[in-house]
């Protein structure tokens, strides 16, 4: 009987509690426990299987989440990491989108990559302004960039197609696969997103991340600890824009047409909301935040349709109200965002049923 109880306790703690870490290596690795590795594998495999089970429209939404998560992750590195605020993330998404709209067909992945790189270069230039100004002033500076980019998107017709935008070739294929198929686009997005997510996670827990956090918390002290402020800020801006550019490239393949309306200030603010709701400075926060901002409008439109057609007309107004309310709620009730909420839930079940 004693043996049995001992076995059960052991099995229970092995399965549900965090395994004891025996050395520094285990302490630093993500998914260091068997359970953690298991869930990571499950997550990746289910992502890979998703297009095979989901019908067309939900897959479209899933790809939207993926795009939002990528662009949001970039902003996470900048806002939650280096503590620099930016209201121009949508403009960088736009840059990535327009650049990659010029390289399609078999060159599509190269185009997406190029979009990211061009966005990164512009981001670095914008980052120079952060060396002189901080906080609200920087926010205004990036806001100016957002408007400037919007103006260029509308007026530089040779490159952007102006207000009408640029359409992708309708019968586009990548190595024989139809690029109009949402499943192909989803896989292409994943091929970019998964490495980029692991990379971001790794960066945040190594030198670059420490430098960014130090700049965020106390830039004077960071300098006196040997952190190169300029380099830290510029890499944060460049990487943030790179992630946004990649997201833009995937986005245009998803919607098939690039118009300036997809990159206006509203979306920049939405990305910022994504960061706050998700929980600034964490990789998981970007995923949660992306689910949140993409799914809320979907849920609302389903609800509106369920209540009756007369509500559908007011949908966009209600969407903004609900959106704003939820963001306020998060700021007041859970400043650490959905990640904080998730951590609390996980801790509750990890110690259940013996919390003390």
């Amino acid at each position: 009987m004693y043996r049995l109880s001992q076995y059960l306790t052991d099995a229970f703690s092995r399965r549900f509690s965090r395994a004891v870490r025996e050395n520094y290596q285990q302490d630093e690795a993500y998914a260091s426990t068997p359970q953690g590795r298991f869930w990571l594998a499950v997550a990746i495999v289910s992502l890979l299987l998703l297009p095979l089970v989901l019908p067309s429209y939900p897959l479209f939404v899933a790809t939207q989440i993926l795009v939002a998560a990528l662009a949001g992750l970039g902003l996470h590195l900048l806002v939650g990491g280096a503590g620099q605020i930016s209201l121009g993330q949508a403009a960088f998404v736009g840059v990535g989108a327009y650049v990659s709209s010029h390289l399609t067909g078999d060159l599509a992945p190269l185009g997406i990559l190029m979009g990211g790189l061009v966005a990164a270069m512009i981001g670095m230039v914008l980052g120079i302004s952060s060396l002189r100004i901080k906080g609200a002033y920087l926010a205004i500076g990036t806001l100016a960039f957002q408007f400037l980019a919007d103006y260029i998107f509308r007026r530089w017709t040779e490159f952007t197609g102006g207000v009408a935008g640029r359409k992708l070739p309708p019968e586009d294929t990548f190595l024989g696969l139809p690029l109009t198929d949402d499943r192909v686009i989803f896989y292409m997005g994943l091929a970019f997103a998964i490495p980029l997510f692991f990379y971001a996670k790794r960066l945040l827990s190594t030198r670059a991340g420490r430098g960014w956090f130090a700049v965020r918390d106390n830039d004077l002290s960071a300098q006196l600890s040997g952190v190169d402020l300029m380099r830290s800020k510029l890499t944060a801006f460049a990487l943030s824009a790179f992630y946004a550019g990649i997201a833009g490239g995937i986005l245009i393949h998803l919607i098939g047409v690039v118009t300036p309306e997809n990159f206006v200030l509203f979306f920049s603010i939405q990305y910022l909301a994504l960061v706050i709701v998700g929980g600034a400075g964490t990789v998981l926060g970007a995923v949660f935040g992306a689910f949140f901002i993409v799914l809320i409008p979907e849920v609302l439109s389903v609800l509106a349709a369920a209540f009756g057609p007369q509500y559908v007309a007011q949908l966009s107004a209600w969407r903004s109200v609900v959106f704003g309310g939820l963001i306020l709620m998060f700021l007041i009730l859970e400043p650490r965002g959905l990640v904080g909420l998730w951590g609390r839930i996980r801790d509750y079940f990890r110690t259940w049923p013996l919390p003390y």
């Binding site: 520094y24 040997g226 380099r231």
Partner: protein, 251 residues
Amino acid sequence: MARVLLEASGLYLSFKGVKALVDVNFKVAEGDLFAVIGPNGAGKTSLLNVLSGLYRPQQGQVVFLGEDLAGQTPQQRVRKGLGRTFQNLELFRGMTVLDNVKLGAELATGGYTDLTPQTRIEWKIRRQAEEVLDYLHLAPYRHVPAGALPYGLQKRVEVARALAGRPQLLLLDEPMAGLSLEEKQDLARFLLDARREWNTTLVLVEHDLKAVLELSTGVLVMSYGEVLYHGLPSGVRENQRVAEAYLGRSA
């Protein structure tokens, strides 16, 4: 006489007529525990700021390891082995204790390009950080955000962060201010340990005269930017000018 690490000569610093430093000269030899004391507003912190490069003196020069530091940024000075802690805590409050110390340790292990993480160097940084954490008895708090710790521990984390970079010379701005007696004793012991173990030379700004006189090997007494006394701690109490500055002139 051991090798001279740091030498300041003829330092003048004034802020629009307020004279913060007037002709300050001193030398710190390797292995010293050099204390700078003086009443409020004596210019002690200004002196440290000049040494670490936050202020630029109007005259005079600072020589560290035989090299004139004029025109070098604070970062360059830190990288050369001139560490610094602050009077009012300047920790990275949102980072864990371990990350704070690791950031300091990067100085000693040498950096690498930020965007290509290298596991081997990361482990080196981690080991070095853990060594310092062990030394300062901070290991139980390594995953706690630094801002959540009590004041005494935060002070200790700041010392740990500076020590993790293995500075040759560490400038400490009132490390014991606001600590309880026990915490002061602990910190003093840690500092002496660091000096013995890693051969770190210490320059200490301090108000606690008793601690200074017991610990230090050399003292600089300042008042209104002027040097009143420079020499062994045993001579401080007998010095007439120091007594006047601290206690006032007898009627």
